[in-house]
């Protein structure tokens, strides 16, 4: 284990976080808000520590998959702790646990809040909440990779550890270029949404914050009623961008390099669109049956499906009051999540695709025990290791879900609340149902339960295994 190298990279992480903190500071100056000084103070402190850690370049540059996972896991813990300090110091979130919860919920793009009224927060604090979702969506390390070549050629381990999906590929020959493309697509989407929302009549501040949390599929809002506080036109715009944010970024990349046929034949994208469409139709039908009018029913169904399947967690209406079929569909979508290679959480559509193909293969195997079948996605054969890790991922996901559910149940709330709270935390969605529904918040849970949920959020964002690496004694042993 190359500890020096890890510390060096964490130093760069602190520098990055410090730089990012200057953005809300600038916002506070613009709005003449007093609480901006905490950002400046934090940023300066982090710069000092970061400068000390990065002062000397390590001699030994060896950096392998293990180091990649450790750096990723530690980075996410570290930046969550650093990021919550302004909330805590300013006293806008008085409890440290709550501040940390809010910050982890931000970085992991979960969007679960412990605040009963976000409108009471100062503008720069609210901006920071949304801004960390933007950073966490594509990943801080990927952001660092796009700017600074750290390890010299072995950065792919970092990209792999931080990016969601069963098999992470490069868009360009160089990791730095790949990271650059990812962020370019990401920022382009965000910018486009800001413009669209502004045209649709949203105030600029709201448009910026909402766009940050849409393309990152985070789900923090600046209004207590989330997107319910805005006009139908704005809800449609956000709904469409949510749908786009759930697509695999390879899709956009193919569009940009004009390989349209490849883009539209991506099997994952097709399955995503299918699931999305079916869910919207089913919920619309269900809502129309229970008294919604056509446009409203469709709008809420479209928005809510987009919000839940991409694991953003906005709400255009209190879907906790919906009929049980609609709510159940939303809970199922929480587990599915968006496409791999997007900013979504959940199990990911590409894994669902792999599971469906594996099931078909296993069924055929019963009829023809000697059948040999290689599972292919997009005409490319999947390596055995990819299949195995996809299967193991599902097992761990369910296992972690079950254990968390047990631990959270200690607080004594009803099953629906606990079930959806854990599903929502692990899938990085945000709101659940019942007592953690869209109009409620997570403050009712005890400190212990909050830490369990925080762990789930981090595990869900990093796809579990990179985080669990920290707890494997083998990781810390000498080779």
């Amino acid at each position: 284990m190359n500890i020096r190298m890890i510390v060096y990279m964490l130093g760069w992480l602190l520098n990055t976080v410090a730089t990012l903190m200057l953005v809300p500071f600038a916002v506070s100056i613009y709005y003449h808000e007093d609480s901006g000084k905490y950002f400046l103070a934090c940023a300066l402190a982090l710069f000092v520590v970061g400068f000390l850690l990065t002062a000397q370049k390590p001699q030994k540059k060896s950096f392998f998959a293990k180091e990649g996972y450790v750096v990723t896991a530690l980075s996410w813990l570290l930046m969550s702790v650093c990021g919550c300090v302004p909330f805590y110091l300013s006293g806008e979130i008085p409890s440290f646990t709550n501040a940390l919860f809010e910050c982890i919920s931000g970085f992991t793009t979960t969007g679960a809040s412990i605040l009963s009224s976000v409108e009471d927060m100062s503008r720069c604090m609210n901006f920071w909440r949304c801004f960390i979702q933007l950073i966490g969506g594509m990943g801080v390390l990927v952001f660092m990779l796009a700017l600074i070549p750290l390890t010299g050629g072995q950065d792919l381990h970092l990209l792999r550890a931080e990016s969601p999906g069963p098999s992470v590929g490069k868009l360009a020959p160089k990791v730095q270029k790949t990271a650059y493309y990812l962020y370019a697509i990401y920022f382009a989407l965000t910018g486009l949404e800001i413009i669209c929302l502004y045209i649709a009549g949203m105030p600029l501040y709201d448009a910026v914050c909402t766009s940050f949390t849409t393309t990152s599929t985070g789900g923090f809002g600046v209004k207590n009623a989330s997107l319910g506080a805005y006009s139908p036109a704005i809800q449609y715009v956000v709904g469409i961008f949510l749908f786009l944010a759930g697509l695999n970024y390879n899709f956009f990349f193919f569009l940009i390099i004009k390989r349209f046929k490849d883009a539209f034949s991506l099997q994952e994208v097709r399955l995503y669109v299918l699931i999305f469409g079916l869910a919207v139709i089913a919920i619309t039908a269900n809502l129309l049956n229970s008294g919604f009018v056509l446009e409203e029913g469709f709008r809420h169904a479209f928005f809510q499906v987009g919000s839940i399947i991409t694991t953003a967690g906005f709400s255009s209406t209190d879907f906790d009051l919906w009929p049980s079929l609609s709510k159940t569909i939303l809970v199922v979508l929480m587990f599915i999540g968006g496409c791999a290679g997007s900013t979504c959480g959940g199990i990911k559509v590409s894994r669902i695709l792999i599971y469906l193909k594996t099931i078909k293969k296993e069924l055929n195997q019963l009829c023809h025990p000697r059948n040999v079948k290689v599972i292919q996605v997009d005409d490319k054969s999947l390596a055995h290791t990819v299949l195995r890790s996809a299967n193991v991922f599902f097992v761990i996901y369910i296992l972690l879900f079950t254990i968390s559910l047990l631990l959270v149940s200690v607080d004594g709330f009803d099953f629906e609340t606990n079930f959806t709270a854990v599903a929502s935390a692990l899938g990085n969605i945000g709101p659940g149902l019942a007592k953690v529904g869209p109009t409620q918040n997570f403050d009712l849970y005890s400190g212990f339960s909050k830490y369990v949920l925080m762990f789930d959020m981090l595990a869900g964002r990093l796809e579990i295994l990179p985080l669990l690496v920290l707890f494997n004694p083998m990781t810390w042993r000498r080779r």
Binding site: H368, R370, N371, V372, K373, V374, Q376, D379, S381
Partner: protein
């Protein structure tokens, strides 16, 4: 013509032999000295030991003056590189044997970029032949001519057929006017029929007809067509790959049984919609479990002739499927022909046949020339497609007035994309493609049909 053959294996040797017989100057090149020695001691050819991709060896073989280079070594890459070298050095025509499916998929591009005159893939050609047989199961042999506008089909006349004791002239009047019987095989003898020839039960006849008329002919002859819906292929060779792909495209279910696991995985990747079974086909349990009794067609394509023969015989015993057997060695064709193994597919000679066909075309590039040549009935007769490029003694004259050779029949004229079944009054015109069938050898020009 001066021809260089690189690679003196089975195909290279056969080519050298046949082209030598037709009077060309042949130089063979091979890295293996023993093979060169064998070639120059049995054939009237020149031999050079060395690597045919090097400038040195090619110069020594006289590439500058050569008209044609044929690369038939065991490796595709060597063949392609060799042709590229030859093209750049000597500006001659080049033919490469390419067998790897990955290259075949981009063949048109490769051919343009490397300036190849012809690419031959024996496995693909063989697979095409087999898939034709599967799609028309009652045919004993099936080929297409004139870019798919004419079919040559071998049929067996069933017992108690209305054709018994019928003359060929009556056949076209009473049975099917658009079909022309162009050869009759009876007791191992080949007859090129005229109007007075008489058909008998159990004759095997070759007919030429437009593809659209096929089913109506079979209906009139009382041959029942059972559509083939599922096929079992033994052995995951390249032929099996090409065949399964073609059959899959025609919505026929294909099952391939292969012994080697790595090969199974490999073809499963290339054929995602085909059922690949890993098992030893000589184990009867495997065959029965995979439903050999219920398949519509059974095709054995392993690398062992003996295994193919036994498996096909077993299949004919337990099922009433159409059976096709790959046999590489034709040494015992008399014995093999009597076994209940259905159609025989022999990929070995296909390469040589196609190349010779091309060479003839090249040689006759002035006047008329050969487009396609197909040998039938153990090479006893040839079916040749000529393209008429120049006015000659045969053009513009009704066929009955031409003094045509014995044992030769003009069996089709393709004009403006349509096939004409010729009668005595029809004429051959400039721009036609003419199909003839003959037992005479050495036909090189349309004028050769005259005495």
């Amino acid at each position: 013509m001066k021809i260089i053959i690189v690679g003196c294996g089975k195909v290279g040797y056969t080519l050298a032999q046949q082209l030598d017989e037709e009077g060309h100057d042949i130089t063979v090149v091979d890295t293996n000295g023993d093979k060169i020695e064998q070639a120059i001691s049995t054939l009237d050819v020149q031999g050079i030991e060395g690597n045919g991709t090097t400038f040195n060896v090619l110069s020594e073989a006289g590439i500058k003056l050569a008209d044609l280079l044929i690369a038939v070594t065991a490796r595709d890459e060597v063949n392609l590189l060799c042709c590229l070298m030859a093209k750049k050095t000597g500006n001659c025509n080049t033919i490469a044997r390419v067998r790897n499916p990955e290259y075949m998929n981009e063949m048109n591009y490769l051919r343009d970029v490397l300036g190849l005159s012809m690419v031959i893939n024996p496995e693909l050609t063989c697979a095409r032949g087999i898939s034709n047989l599967v799609e028309v199961p009652s045919a004993l042999d099936f080929t297409t001519f004139g870019k798919g506008r004419a079919n040559l089909i071998k049929l067996s006349i069933p017992d108690d057929s209305l054709l018994h004791n019928m003359t060929v002239a009556d056949f076209s009047k009473k049975v099917h006017s658009k079909t022309l019987i162009c050869a009759i095989e009876r007791d191992g003898e080949v007859v090129i029929p005229n109007g007075n020839s008489v058909l008998q039960n159990n004759d095997k006849i070759y007919v030429v007809l437009p593809p659209s008329e096929l089913h109506s002919l079979l209906g009139k002859l009382g041959i029942k067509e059972k559509r083939i819906k599922n096929v079992m292929i033994i052995g995951g060779s390249r032929i099996a790959y090409y065949l399964a792909k073609r059959l899959g495209d025609a919505h026929i279910q294909v099952k391939i049984i292969e012994r080697d696991f790595a090969t199974c995985e490999n073809i499963s990747e290339m054929l995602p919609h085909t059922l690949i079974i890993h098992g030893d086909a000589t184990d009867r349990q495997v065959l029965l479990e995979e439903g050999i009794e219920d398949v519509d067609a059974f095709i054995s394509l392993t690398n062992m002739d003996e295994e193919n023969l036994v498996l096909s015989m077993f299949a004919s015993k337990v099922s009433d499927a159409k059976i096709i057997t790959k046999v590489d060695k034709v040494a015992f064709s008399e014995v093999v022909g009597e076994l209940p193994i259905g159609n025989i597919a022999c990929p070995k000679n296909i390469t040589a046949k196609s190349i010779i066909q091309y060479v003839r075309g090249l040689q006759n590039s002035i006047g008329s020339n050969i487009e396609t040549l197909y040998r039938i009935i153990d090479d006893k007769a040839e079916l040749i497609e000529f393209r008429v490029n120049q006015e000659s003694k045969v053009t513009g004259v009704p066929l009955m007035k031409l003094n045509i050779k014995k044992n030769l029949l003009v069996c089709g004229i393709i004009r403006n994309g349509k096939i004409i079944t010729p009668s005595g009054k029809d004429t051959i015109e400039l721009g036609d493609a003419v199909l003839i069938v003959t037992t005479n050898r050495g036909m090189a020009n349309i004028n050769d049909i005259l005495v």
